[in-house]
């Protein structure tokens, strides 16, 4: 598919870096209200840039200026090097995916036709547009059986998935998402967020995502722009940087509590040193391990999967470990999870140690409290420097 907007192009070297550039953009309404004030910001290609801030900070206005649902009164917005003001709005919008809070599905059209809205507008024939729509429904995790239904027959979470599928239908390079998950309950929201991250890992769209929820921003954003009331940029940083070094009191307050703990989510857990001598198979004779100096031992089954912790003092004189009641355990996937997950796993075990497992759930070793202490100290040192 060819490009939809054909305006003056930026120098070739500039392309492919920042799909969207806000260049000193302002929005001032006739009554004098300033919604956005001198916003300069790049949304790098293939990344999720989150605009976050309290209500009245101009985040939604900023987003809507990209597809000209609102026109800026100062500065300019470049989309792939082209000033959006030079493009006819409907043409511009057909090349940009747009997802809004209430999904905004057309109630009189079946789900499949809702998803095919933009392909129809672009003149695709019906068959091809519908085939594409079916492919996208599957892609966003919806059953093909829903295609023939009407929006009112779907749950809020399903409708929002359809909204995402519709935005992706014509395969636009850019997605604008305006608080898309705010209207659904927390459990559905979390699954939609995970789904978006999974999709993004496959599609690599340039996404601008607006939310008022800082946790959502930190979870989804490659980069997070915190805006303050009056439409000024307070800080633009990666989530980890934001948590480690808030630019000022406003950002610090907006980030809220547990900033230190939350920051651990961005410290990888694969650097933790493992002890492999604290693991015993369940088939082992109790007597053979009674002599250990360790107060707790991790018991694993025949395939190396964790069963729980046993205390040295509970070990019987004879028989295998199978007869010993195992205390609960916490585990984290070492190659994937963060230091926060490791700490969490440790806090779930009476031993205070965390079990490190591989992708298949087999125990790789034990991270002791001492090792966690050291890792936390390193992370805290990183925050200072």
């Amino acid at each position: 598919m060819g490009r939809l907007w054909q305006g003056g192009r930026a120098p070739a070297g500039d392309q492919g870096m920042h799909m969207i550039t806000f260049d000193d953009v302002s929005k001032r309404y006739p009554d004098g209200t300033v919604a956005v004030d001198g916003l300069t910001l790049h949304a790098p290609t293939g990344e999720i840039t989150v605009l976050v801030g309290p209500s009245g900070c101009g985040k939604t206005t900023s987003l809507r200026m990209v597809n000209r649902m609102v026109d800026a009164t100062g500065g300019r917005i470049l989309l792939d090097g082209v000033d959006v003001r030079t493009v006819d709005p409907p043409t511009l919008r057909r090349g940009i995916g747009y997802v809004i809070q209430q999904a905004g599905l057309f109630p009189h059209r079946k789900i499949v036709d809702n998803v095919a809205t933009v392909p129809y507008l672009l003149g695709w024939d019906r068959k091809r547009a519908r085939a594409r729509a079916m492919e996208l429904l599957e892609r966003v995790g919806l059953d093909a059986g829903l295609a023939g239904r009407y929006p009112f027959q779907l749950s809020g979470g399903q409708q929002q998935r359809v909204g995402v599928a519709r935005a992706l239908a014509a395969d636009p390079p850019v997605l604008l998402m305006d608080e898309p998950f705010s209207a659904v309950d927390p459990i559905v929201r979390a699954s939609l967020q995970d789904e978006l991250l999974r999709l993004q890992s496959e599609l690599n769209k340039t996404i601008v995502f607006v939310t008022h929820d800082i946790d959502e921003a930190i979870k989804l954003g490659d980069r997070v722009a915190v805006l303050r009331v009056g439409g000024r940029l307070a800080q633009l940083a990666s989530p980890a940087e934001l948590l480690a070094e808030p630019a000022d009191d406003f950002v610090r307050e907006f980030l809220g509590r547990d900033r230190g703990i939350r920051r651990l989510s961005f410290v990888p857990g694969d650097g933790l040193r493992l002890r492999t001598d604290l693991t015993v198979p369940v088939s082992a004779e109790a007597a053979s391990v009674r002599g250990t100096a360790e107060p707790w031992l991790a018991v694993v089954d025949g395939e190396g999967r964790p069963l729980g912790w046993v205390a040295r003092e509970d070990l019987p004189d004879s028989g295998t470990l199978a007869g010993v009641p195992a205390a609960p355990y916490g585990a984290f996937v070492r190659e994937r999870d963060s230091l926060r997950s490791a700490l969490d796993a440790a806090l779930l075990s009476p031993s205070g140690n965390a079990l490190a497992v591989d992708g298949a759930g087999r125990v790789e070793g034990v991270v002791t409290r001492d090792e966690l202490d050291a890792a936390l100290a390193r992370a805290a040192g990183g925050a200072r420097g």
């Binding site: 409907p90 043409t91 919008r93 090349g95 057309f106 009189h108 933009v118 009407y150 027959q153």
Partner: protein, 223 residues
Amino acid sequence: MNWLADFFGDPANWSGPDGIPLRLAEHLEFAGLSLLLAMLVALPLGLWIGHTGRGALLVVLSANAARALPTLGLLVLVVLLMGVGTIAPVLIPLVALAVPPILVNTYEGIRGVDADLRDAAYGMGLRGGQVLGRVLVPVALPLILLGLRTAAIQVVATATVAAYVGLGGLGRYIIDGLATKRYPLAVGGAVLVALLALAVQGLFGVLQRFLVSPGVSGRQKIR
């Protein structure tokens, strides 16, 4: 009941210039033409005002005027001004009667469409006319049809006044019957008008079923 049997049983009432088929055709002509003219005025106006938000005051004024306007008074006035002889004098008050419900319901239907939906439609890249035609009208259709139905029933019922100024239609039976104390004629005419109104109601029920998307009416059951 005997009066009805007298009226509908009399073969003389089924043919000739005073027969039921011709009177019904006349009645439908007045009512149909009036409704058509009212639609031509009120539908585009209602769509335009609802879509652009401009001229909403006109809708309010029209709705209020409709309640205040005496159809019979207007008819007499028009006849006095234009004279008799054509059917135009009877069309004017009937159109005046039919325009407000069509205009108000069309306007309210379009304006009442969820702002998010409108936003999404523009955001997808639909142009103004496409937003109106492909999204707003289908979603507002139940209300638009309600306006048309209200107008049609009122016009069918009120077209009886044509007989006051010497024109035909089913009103002929009622007025002549009352004037000459032939009550079977008057009651028979009144029953025909009532039946016609019910038929119009039924017709719009069918239209609603065929024209309104199940997604809007919520008719389709979850399989």
